[in-house]
Symmetry: C2
Subunit: 353 residues, 2 copies
DNA sequence: GTTAGCACTCATTATCAAAGAGTGCTAACA
DNA sequence: TGTTAGCACTCTTTGATAATGAGTGCTAAC
C-alpha cells in the first residue's frame, strides 16, 4: 500500500468515521459537506476512485457509495491508536470507577464482563489470570470420614483445589501425617512436567503399605494442577451481536453465539493475544482475528496482569463497524482500574475454580 | 372445556401432530387424508369449526388452516403423558447409555446438557443437585504462609469450599489447632440459620486473644455455605432457539438468549419445578411457564435426585411446537441413567463450586 | 487542478394482477 | 340426521412491471 497524500488520508478518515456512524455506504456529496476541506463532490469522487483503486474502500454495487475495506479500517484504527497513545496518562488520573471492589476473584471477573458489555453494547469476554506454569505450594491430607481422604492442593498464587479420595478402610491419623510429609517433600514447588515416573517410583518406595494410595493422591494433584491450568473464560453480552443487522446472516450469528456458549473457540483468541509481544491493546479487523468465521466482526483485546505475574485477557467482539474509539478508551480505563485493584488494594484474593 | 367426542379428539390429535411436523396451518383436506377416519374434508370442516369454538384450535387468518391453541397443545400433551406412563418400565431396561461416566460433578453436568441439546436440538439447562439446607460437616484451618490462613469448609454431601484469610501476623500451630477445635465444636452440623449472634458471642468468649480472627473465619464459613447454596446452572444449545423461525421476532429471541446467558431468569423455572409435588416430568406450554416472555415457547422439566437427598432440575426449552414425544422420552431415559450413576456406581463425587 | 452537468446503473419501493389454499354455506344424498 | 359435493368468497403469496432516487463516471468548461 502506497503512502497516502494528506488529503486522501482526510477523506478516508471521513469515510470510515461516517460509515461507522451510519452503517450506510457513504457518497461523495456527504463527504463534501462533512469535511472542512471545502471540495466539491466531483473532486471527492475523483479521490475516491483513487482510494478504491488502492484498495482502501469499495462499492457494494455500482450505484452506491463507498464502504471501507479491511485495509481502510486498518488505516483508520492505526490513526486512532496513535492519537490515543498520549491520552493514557490522562485517563489514569480520571478514575471513573467502573468497578465495585468485590472479594472473590470469580465475582470480580463476572462483574468486569458485565460492566464492559453494558458500556459498549458488544460481546465481551475475560479470562481468569493465568500462570504460564502452575507450581504446587503444598498438599494437605486429612480424613473426612472413614471412607474419604480430603486432599487440599494449594498452588502458586494461592489458588486452591480440593480432591476427595475414596479409600476402602480408615487410615490412622499419624499415617496421614507421614504420608503428608512424604508427599510434600516431593511435590512442593513441582510443576506438571516435574511429576514423572521416576519420582513416583521413589515416592512409592518410601510410602510403605500406603503406596497404593499414592496413585490416587498423585492423580488428585495432577488433576488439581490441570484444573488450575484450565482456562476459565467468562463472557457477557453475546446477544448484543444480534443487534447489528449487518452480521445477521443466520449462519455467522449462530456460529459466533455458539462459540460464546461453548467458549472453546475463544481460547484461540486468548492464545494469540498472550503470545503477542505487545501487551497493550490489540485490534483485529475481520479475518485478521485468529478465529475462523470472523468476516464481519472485529475483536479488540487487552491484557491485564496480576501481581504475581499471572496474565489475563479481556476481549471485546463486535461488528467490524464498531465504535473503536469508545472501545479502546473503555478498555484502557478498565485495565488501569484492574491494575490498581490487583496491585495496590488486594485485600483478599479469594478462592477459585 | 367440555369433554370431547372421540372423533373430535382424534381430529384434534391429528391437527396438532401434523402442525408439529410441518409448522404450517393444517387444512381440512389434509386431515381427511391423514387420519384413518375416512371422512370427507367437508365433514372435517364442520368438526373443526366446533373445535375452534371450543377454543382448541384457531385460524391465523380467514383463508388459512388451523393451528392449535395452548389449550389444544395441552390436550395433546396430556394424552402423550398418559401413553408414555406405561413405557417407563420398558425404558429402564433399554440402557442406551447416553452418558459417559466422568468423575467431577461439574463435568458430568456439562456433559448432560450438551448431550441433551445435541439429541433434541433445543435449549437445555441443568442445575447442580442442591440441598434444601446446607450443613457444615467440619472446618479445617491451617497456615499457608506467614500472612495467610486457609480455611477449608466441608459441607454435607462432601462439597468443599476454601477461603483464604489474610492475617497481620503468623499464628502458632498449636493456636491454630485450638481455634480449629473450638470452631468445629460450634459449627459442626450447623446450617446458615444456626449461626446467630448468641453463638458468636459464646465462641468469642472462649477464643481468647484470637477472637478477632473469629469474625473472619465465620465470615468465611458463612460465605462458603452461601456459595454452596448458590445455584449453579449449566446451559447448552441456547442458539438452537434461533433455528425455529416462528420465534424469530428479534425481541423474544434476544430476551430468551439473554436469560440463558445471565441465567438468573432460569431460577424462577427451577423454583417452580422443585416446589411442585410431582417430581416427574412436567410440561409448561407457552405462558404456563413461570417465566415472562414465553409466549411462543414451551418448557419441559424433570427432577433428578442425588443419593443424599439433594435435588436438581433439568429443563428443555424449545418452540411451542416442539417434538414433545421425543423430548419426554429423552428426559425419561436420562433421569433413569442419572439415577443409576449417582445411586449405584458413585465411585467418586469430586469437588465443587 | 477543480467543478458543473448529464447520462447511466442499480437497489429499493410501490402497485397490480394472478394463483392457490382453505374456508363457510347451501343443497343434495343415504 | 349425519355426510358430502359444489361453489363463491377471502386472504396470503408470488411475480412482473414501473417509478423513484441515490450515486457514480465522464466530459467539457472554468
Amino acid at each position: 500500500m502506497e503512502q497516502l497524500s494528506e488529503r486522501k488520508m482526510k477523506i478516508l478518515q471521513a469515510i470510515v468515521a461516517n460509515y461507522l456512524e451510519t452503517g450506510e455506504p457513504v457518497g461523495s456529496r456527504t463527504i463534501s459537506k462533512f469535511t472542512d476541506l471545502s471540495l466539491s463532490s466531483a473532486t471527492i469522487r475523483n479521490e475516491m476512485a483513487d482510494l478504491e483503486e488502492s484498495g482502501y474502500i469499495e462499492q457494494p454495487h455500482t450505484s452506491a457509495g463507498r464502504i471501507p475495506t479491511d485495509a481502510g479500517y486498518r488505516v483508520y484504527v492505526d490513526q486512532i491508536m496513535k492519537e490515543r497513545e498520549a491520552e493514557t496518562e490522562e485517563l489514569r488520573q480520571e478514575k471513573e470507577g467502573l468497578l465495585e471492589r468485590v472479594d472473590r476473584m470469580e465475582l470480580m471477573l463476572k462483574q468486569v464482563v458485565k460492566v464492559l458489555a453494558y458500556n459498549t453494547n458488544y460481546a465481551t469476554m475475560i479470562t481468569a489470570p493465568q500462570y504460564r506454569e502452575v507450581h504446587v505450594k503444598f498438599v494437605q491430607l486429612s480424613m473426612v470420614d472413614d471412607e474419604h481422604v480430603l486432599a487440599v492442593i494449594v498452588t502458586e498464587g494461592n489458588i486452591i483445589k480440593n480432591q476427595m479420595i475414596e479409600v476402602s478402610e480408615p487410615i490412622a491419623n499419624e499415617d496421614i501425617l507421614k504420608l503428608s510429609v512424604l508427599v510434600n517433600s516431593f511435590l512442593q514447588g513441582a510443576a506438571l512436567r516435574d511429576i514423572n515416573i521416576e519420582m513416583i517410583q521413589t515416592m512409592k518406595g518410601q510410602a510403605g503399605i500406603y503406596d497404593r494410595f499414592l496413585d490416587q493422591i498423585l492423580e488428585a494433584v495432577v488433576g488439581a494442577i490441570k484444573e488450575a491450568d484450565e482456562r476459565q473464560i467468562y463472557t457477557s453480552g453475546a446477544t448484543n451481536i444480534l443487534k447489528y443487522p449487518e452480521i445477521g446472516d443466520e449462519e455467522k450469528t449462530s456460529v459466533l453465539l455458539e462459540a460464546f456458549e461453548e467458549k472453546e473457540m475463544l481460547n484461540e483468541l486468548v492464545d494469540e493475544t498472550l503470545s503477542s509481544e505487545d501487551t497493550g491493546i490489540q485490534i483485529y479487523i475481520g479475518d485478521e482475528a485468529p478465529v475462523k468465521n470472523m468476516k464481519d466482526l472485529s475483536v479488540v483485546t487487552a491484557t491485564y496482569e496480576l501481581q504475581e505475574g499471572a496474565k489475563g485477557t479481556i476481549g471485546i467482539i463486535g461488528p467490524k463497524r464498531m465504535d473503536y474509539k469508545k472501545v479502546v478508551d473503555t478498555l484502557k480505563k478498565l485495565t488501569i482500574e484492574l491494575d490498581e485493584i490487583f496491585n495496590n488494594k488486594n485485600k483478599s484474593k479469594g478462592d477459585e475454580t
